[in-house]
Amino acid sequence: MVRGWRIAVSVAVVVLTGVAVDLFATAHRKALSETFRGQGIAFAVAFADAAEEWLASGDTEAIQRAARLMFLGSVLYVQVLSDGVLRVDERRATLAEAELATASGPSRIPQAGYARIFQGPQALDVVIPLLAGGPGYVRVGFDTGSILTSARSGVLVAAGIGVGFDLAVIGLLFLGPRRRARSVPVGSELGPMAIRIGDLGIEEDQKRVTLAGKLVPLPPKQYALLSLLASEPGRVFSDREILSAVWPDSRYANSKDVKQHIYLLRRRLGKAQPGSEGAIVNVPGFGYRLEPTKGDH
C-alpha cells in the first residue's frame, strides 16, 4: 500500500517533468525564432544601407561580391530590386536551380517572416525597402538551421535536467525510507544528530550516551567503539575493522585492546542497566555486533 503511493507520486513527477520540458522547448524555440528574426532584420538593414550606396554609384558587382561572402554564413539568397528592375539575384550554389520570385507589394517598412521559399527547411525571408530612388528593396533569406540546432541542444539540456530531477525524486522516495530504517535518528528527545537503538541513545554532537534514560559516561575509545557498533546494528564488525576505526593512528593496538574495551564497555552498560551487557554480542571467529536492547521493536 505504502509502496503504491510512492509509485503513483513517481509517475506523476515523471509526467509533470515531461510536460515542463515540452513547455520549455516550445518557449525556447519561440524565443530563439524571435531573436533570430530581430537580428536578421538588423543585419539585412545594415546590408541594405551599403547596397543602397553601391547602387547609387552603379556598382552592382560590389553587392554581388558582398552576397557571395554572405553565402559562406547563414544567408541563402540576396535579391536587390531598384526602380522596378531586378539588379542582383544571387543565391547559394546549392540553390542555383531553384526559382525565386520577386517579393510582392512594395512596402515602406521592413518585412520579415519564416517561409518555405525552397524545398527543405523554412527560411527567414527579410525584405528591406530602399529609401532612395524608385520602388525597390533588398531581400535577404537566412537559413534557419542554426535555430534548429540551438533549439535541439536547449531541449537536450532541459531533458537532461528533467531526468536528473526525476531520478533524484524517485531515489528519495524509494531509498530514503530504507536508510532511515537502518538507524533511526531521534529528533525529539536526543537532537538531530542522535541515534536510538532500543533503550540505547547516542548523541553524536554532544558525545553523550544514554541507556533507558540514564546517562552512561564513556571515555573516548569506548564511545568510539559503541558508535561504530551502533552505526549498523546487527552487523558483525571484525577486530581489524574496529582497530582501524577506533585506533586509526596506532600501530601497537591489537585484538587484545579490542577485547579489553569490549569488556569495559559491557561493564559500563551493565552498571547503567543490569542485563544490558548482552547488547554487545561476541560472534566467535568473526567479531562483535550490537543487538538492540529490550526497548527496541
Partner: protein, 188 residues
C-alpha cells in the same frame, strides 16, 4: 621586414606617378607618399567599419566569425599573423596595422615640415594603438563562444576602427587617419 620593403617599393611606385602640378605649391615627395598611403588606409578602414557593423548585427556565430575574420584580414594583411586565407580576397591586401607601424618607423626620417612633425608622429602613434586594439577585439570575436559576447567585442572593434578613421571635422582632436590628412599639406 618583407612588409616594410613591400611598402617602401609601393611608395616608390606611387612616387613616380605623383609629379608636381605647376599650379599648386610643391609638396615634399615623402608627404605625398604618406598622404596617398593614408587615403588608401582610410578607404580600407571604411570597408572594415562596414564589415564590423555586419559582424555586430550578425544573426548567427558563423556570420559573426565570417565578418570578424574579414576585419582581421584587413588589419593584418595578406600573409600576416592570424590571416585567414579562406576569406582572402582575390588580390593581396596590405594590412592596416603593418602599414601604421611602417608609417611610424618612416616618420622620423621622412621629409615633412618640422612644425607638424611632432603632431603627425603623435597621431600616427595613436592610429597604431587604435588599430592594434581593434585587432585584439576582432580576435576576441573569433575566440568567443557566444553570439552576444562576440557582438560586444565586435562593437568595441568597431569603436576602435572608427577612432582610427577619425572624423571629417574634429573639434576635440581625437586623431585618426582623417586628422592626419587634415594636418598634412594637401596633395592633388
Amino acid at each position: 621586414m618583407v612588409g616594410v620593403i613591400g611598402l617602401a617599393l609601393a611608395w616608390g611606385a606611387i612616387g613616380i606617378g605623383t609629379q608636381p602640378d605647376p599650379g599648386t605649391p610643391a609638396v615634399p615627395p615623402d608627404v605625398a607618399r604618406i598622404v596617398i598611403t593614408l587615403r588608401a588606409m582610410s578607404e580600407r578602414l571604411r570597408i572594415s567599419l562596414h564589415l564590423s557593423t555586419m559582424g555586430v548585427l550578425s544573426p548567427t556565430q558563423v556570420d559573426q566569425r565570417l565578418y570578424a575574420g574579414q576585419v582581421v584580414n584587413l588589419l593584418v594583411g595578406s600573409g600576416g599573423q592570424h590571416f585567414d586565407p579562406r576569406l582572402a580576397l582575390e588580390s593581396p591586401v596590405p594590412g592596416l596595422v603593418p602599414e601604421a607601424r611602417t608609417l611610424l618607423e618612416f616618420l622620423p626620417r621622412a621629409e615633412i615640415p618640422e612644425e607638424i612633425r611632432e603632431r603627425v608622429t603623435f597621431l600616427a602613434k595613436k592610429l597604431h594603438a587604435f588599430l592594434n586594439m581593434a585587432l585584439e577585439e576582432s580576435l576576441q570575436v573569433l575566440r568567443s563562444r557566444r553570439l552576444d559576447v562576440g557582438a560586444d567585442h565586435m562593437l568595441r572593434a568597431f569603436a576602435f576602427l572608427n577612432a582610427a578613421l577619425g572624423r571629417e571635422a574634429d573639434p576635440v582632436h581625437l586623431g585618426g587617419v582623417r586628422a592626419l590628412l587634415r594636418i598634412l599639406p594637401p596633395v592633388t
